[in-house]
Symmetry: C2
């Protein structure tokens, strides 16, 4: 399995005019003055799981990081660190999956790199993607932008991705199988921004789950956030698995969830618009931003009490993405 | 060694206004319509070597890939895959080295990501960097742009990086120590473009060495390239080590070398300008582009014969960058 073989594979599968120039980098005709730029490495174990695989994750993860910057995702880089002995079929499956994901998300994989490490010095395949997107004029998404009176919206049930992976690792079987929610969120994010150009924050709550994402926003914006337990959507199978495994779904990783924080008077219109799109079908408001307890997230529980939803303490689930 | 600790380290060391926004991605005010975008993963073994380390390599490598696109390097992303158990001091040293390299190259590390894999599933630290740079108006660097009559120029002795790493691994000792040539090349590349705006190709001959880089250019441009053996600079210690280790210096990796292919009538002026800069002090012409044997690189040897300089066949040096 030589470098050349790999490169031939990737060039063929990812083929596009920019990549075809075979330059050390890609030259992008942006026609825009403001860009978003992001990166993530993917080390998920196992490589293939119900609802997705590492390749799809690597594309959508970076697409979504661009989308939550308010950007239109356009160009992706791909860096592969491959353990010697990885079967060529696995690599081909991953590459094909990345291409499908890129096509679905409307991005091109325009530059890349492959490194091979000896057996036992890696683990199958690690993928890094970086992404560049165009930030439309007037869009100002800011993690420090949440204000009292804003509403917190999410596009559907939480914790699917983390539980799909953990169930597979632990050999759990469900009557209703739990599958990863991996999905590109750029269309949904763009629809939100179009419906409410003054949307304050967009965030995809991946590692650390909804709890960590909201804590970061509460701190950055110096506001409190109050979640309503009865409103936070969790599938029954996921709730059951969380109980068995000892997880709080608020801390479990998602891959296709979008948190929207927007002015209260626009919330109804935003939810309505989100529900028109397949990836927003189950959208709902889950909480409010308040001037009380700045920097802290609390949950109003079923029985009417409140509890603090802290940053994740202790271990995060390893290699969930 | 938790995620948080890591992130605190990186945010502190890489600190800049864009990174400080703690967004999922960086928003770049480019003020330009044409950008270069590139990525590379770094898995060099060992992490620290004479003349450099993985952190410096990861910054300069990506800076140089942008420079050879004719771009002014500006923004860098950093993705870390860390093996559990890596000493914090090692990480801090690598991060500090990246910061120094970024400052020297005039780039900011604006977005990043950290993943931890269990012991034995990685190897210390792997780093991916992606980079975005601005391509000035009128610059048209094209790997397929070499034409008969062009001259091939290089900025100094070849094979230093690969031999520095291999000597360390093999425990070789030299009277004159061989150190990696790791260096940022953007200032040199910009000076070349300013001296000769019609420069055809810029290339940094890293993995696979000068031979592979020139073969790629010869094929892409459908031209022949003739190297002059007496002109290709190789330090004595490097030549000696190559003999001991059984390598041809033309195939050994470089990290701070720049190949320039430019119209013959501009070659003298370019070499003169390159020599004025520290990283170009030892610049010289090493060959010509010809319409003969398109797609092939040949070497006119010391004794007046010619031999074909093929693409690297067989194994590349593993984990050289």
């Amino acid at each position: 399995m030589t470098q050349k073989l790999l490169e031939t594979l990737f060039f063929r599968v990812f083929d596009n005019p920019i990549l075809a120039r075979r330059h050390d980098g890609a030259v992008l005709e942006t026609g825009a003055k403001r860009l978003a730029f992001t990166t993530d490495s993917y080390v998920v174990d196992p490589l293939f799981f119900p609802g997705g695989d590492i390749g799809e994750l690597a594309v959508y993860g970076t697409v979504n990081d661009l989308a939550v910057c308010g950007a239109e995702p356009r160009w992706i880089s791909a860096g592969f660190i491959i353990e010697e002995g990885l079967p060529m079929e696995v690599l081909a499956r991953v590459a094909a999956s990345m291409r499908r994901a890129a096509d679905r998300a409307g991005v091109s994989i325009v530059t890349g790199d492959t490194k091979v490490v000896p057996r036992g010095r890696g683990d199958g395949i690690f993928i890094n993607t970086a992404g560049v997107g165009i930030v439309p004029e007037g869009v100002e998404i800011d993690p420090a932008g949440a204000r009292p009176g804003d509403v917190v919206i999410i596009n559907g049930p939480i914790a699917d991705h983390g539980i799909a992976i953990m169930a597979l690792r632990e050999g759990l079987d469900f009557e209703t199988p739990v599958v990863s929610d991996t999905a590109p969120l750029h269309t949904l994010a763009a629809a939100v921004l179009q419906t409410c150009p003054t949307t304050r924050v967009l965030r995809d709550p991946t590692r650390g789950g909804v709890a960590s994402a909201l804590n970061e926003i509460a701190r950055a914006s110096s506001v409190g956030i109050v979640l309503d337990e009865t409103s936070v959507p969790v599938r029954d199978a996921v709730r059951g698995a969380c109980e068995i495994l000892g997880f709080d779904p608020l801390y479990v990783a998602n891959e296709g969830k979008l948190i929207v924080i927007a002015p209260g008077d626009a919330a109804g219109k935003i939810v309505e618009r989100m529900r028109e799109l397949p990836e927003g079908r189950e959208s709902c408001a889950i909480g409010m931003v308040t001037s009380e307890h700045p920097g802290t997230v609390v949950m109003r529980t079923l029985i009417g009490g409140t509890r603090i939803v802290d940053m994740m303490s202790g271990e995060q689930l390893p290699r969930i993405c």
